[in-house]
Symmetry: C3
């Protein structure tokens, strides 16, 4: 069995962080909460979402796996007004998901979990540096970079977190010293990333009070943050190869 009540926008924010990478996902449900992992079709970025039972107003579940189309579930959630709760439960008979919003009851068909793209394993990577920014700072930087280029360099240079974007004609630099960051693990790192993916990631991360970026040298980036207090999101994204000028 699975029955839960949650603030609609909290769940929507959490799922929005996943849907840009993959819209058919497997919810791994346990008595402690819901976890899901997804990877994009190009295998460039992964997301790990942890919705603990404490993120819900009400939560009661046995262990099970549900294949869910996030676009359909998102449509159901969008029927809720601001501040309104939704009830989500598994109808054991029909094996469909019932989403209740006020007097409305929405029935969402499930997907066979075995038909869903295999979940990624979390690769073990060791990233030597990290910088902690506010979500708003990060979003602003990424939006600025987007105007100049379609990829961006992120890194740490001793005690400074930096970003560089080079367009054909114009270029953009961001430098934030340790004392203007929320935290910094100093060192040397520098990697090139696709802005396409980062733009989607900072949509969710922009709402977080703090976002931890872990960075290496031509190595993946790990972006960690919490939204709506109890929802944890981790993104992992492969670097692109930096061309010599």
């Amino acid at each position: 069995m699975f029955k839960s009540v949650i603030l609609a926008e909290a769940l929507r924010d959490a799922l929005d962080a996943v849907v840009s990478l993959s819209d058919e996902v497997k919810f791994t449900i346990s008595p402690d909460g819901i976890k899901l992992k997804a990877v994009d079709p190009a295998n460039i970025a992964m997301v790990f979402l942890d919705l603990p039972s404490t993120a819900f107003e009400y939560y009661k579940a046995d262990a099970c796996e549900l294949g869910i189309d996030l676009v359909r579930l998102g449509d159901a959630l969008s029927m809720a007004d601001k501040g309104e709760n939704v009830t989500i439960e598994l109808d054991a008979e029909t094996h469909k998901l019932k989403v209740g919003v006020g007097s409305l009851s929405y029935t969402v068909a499930l997907i066979d979990p075995t038909a869903i793209r295999k979940e990624p394993r979390i690769p073990e990577i060791d990233l030597p540096t990290s910088a902690t920014l506010t979500g708003a700072q990060l979003r602003k930087a990424i939006k600025a970079a987007e105007k100049v280029s379609d990829h961006v360099i992120l890194g740490v240079d001793d005690t400074i977190f930096f970003m560089e974007a080079k367009g054909d004609i114009d270029s953009l630099k961001l430098q934030i010293p340790a004392n203007e960051l929320l935290a910094l693990r100093s060192g040397e790192s520098r990697s090139l990333f696709s802005l396409d993916y980062l733009v989607d990631m900072v949509k969710a991360a922009g709402k977080a009070d703090e976002v931890v970026l872990e960075l290496g040298l031509d190595y993946p980036i790990k972006m960690r943050f919490q939204i709506n207090k109890n929802v944890s999101i981790i993104y992992l994204m492969a670097p692109r190869i930096e061309q010599e000028d």
Copy 2:
């Protein structure tokens, strides 16, 4: 003669309720106010609009019929700011409509009333049940249904007003018991309607404090409401044939 002053947005709201069905209409003007009837080209839905003289700040008119292009009149009305009155009068010499908004004076050519699609007769239909909702409740339900399907079942089941929409995969149910409605004439009714039309209708109805839906069994729906206190709008729409699953 015809001369009137009215709050621009009150007239705009009223005409917006008509324009989705027909943009060339005949205003039947009398000393008591303006009435108009329109039917859409497919003969599926009709609207009856009653703008009594009390809906105006100033109103003085002899009986006459004016053929009016609602899009042109709407353009003139859109020049008014929020809370601003418009003066609408017939220029007897040029036989054109003069719309005054502040220092602006807009001249709208009239259409020959005989060139306008014939007005519908109000069919006499007897609808056994009715449910009275707030405009906001109705709009929310119709918007939810639109995400699932392009048609919707509306009806009354004893003391419950219900709505059902079935998509290829997902489905939506709404059930509002009598005690959560503003009023209910209980009984049995159930008819299928096109959401295309309902979506346009609830744009106007969504602003009403209360909307009366009169329903029968595979029979037309009658939707009645008032906006801006004195403006009455009645929609009548034919049902669609419900297919067996």
Copy 3:
């Protein structure tokens, strides 16, 4: 050398008034401020922008000329939040413009000033009448005219400022007597103008407390206003030939 600090939105408003006519312009920089002139490719309208040093939070410059792509500079300015200052300085070494917004530093390549379309000379014209309106009044009138036609007559008839727009079917008149204007130099004037250009001009002028329109008989219009207190903008636009009906 050239270094300045200015409220981002003040500079953006000023440059927006120019970019619709020309996006590659020459900044004529002096110790007293920045001036620029531009004419549109069709030679119909000219703009003269005067950004005195008092419009800046900080300003220090030697005389020089910089060729600037307003779209690129506008992109850099759009990175600033509401109320945020930008630092704009010439990097003497690379001969590029550096635009700093908080921790972000944007590098904009300059254009060779000799490659920029020659600046217009200010023609000496003597306009017999003028009317001074609020920016909001003017914008509202031009927006109304746009719904009826693609050109508009502006003029003064003795002590009344008037506007006329004629569509194929509908027409619009505006008449503002001297006592409802901020100022009027009475007389007789009447000229026809393209609304395409006026619509762009009133985007900037709409923000001004007062806009002076100088008008003649089948003669150019001069539109003068100040925005953000110290920024002066003058538009000059050729009339179109009025056809007999």
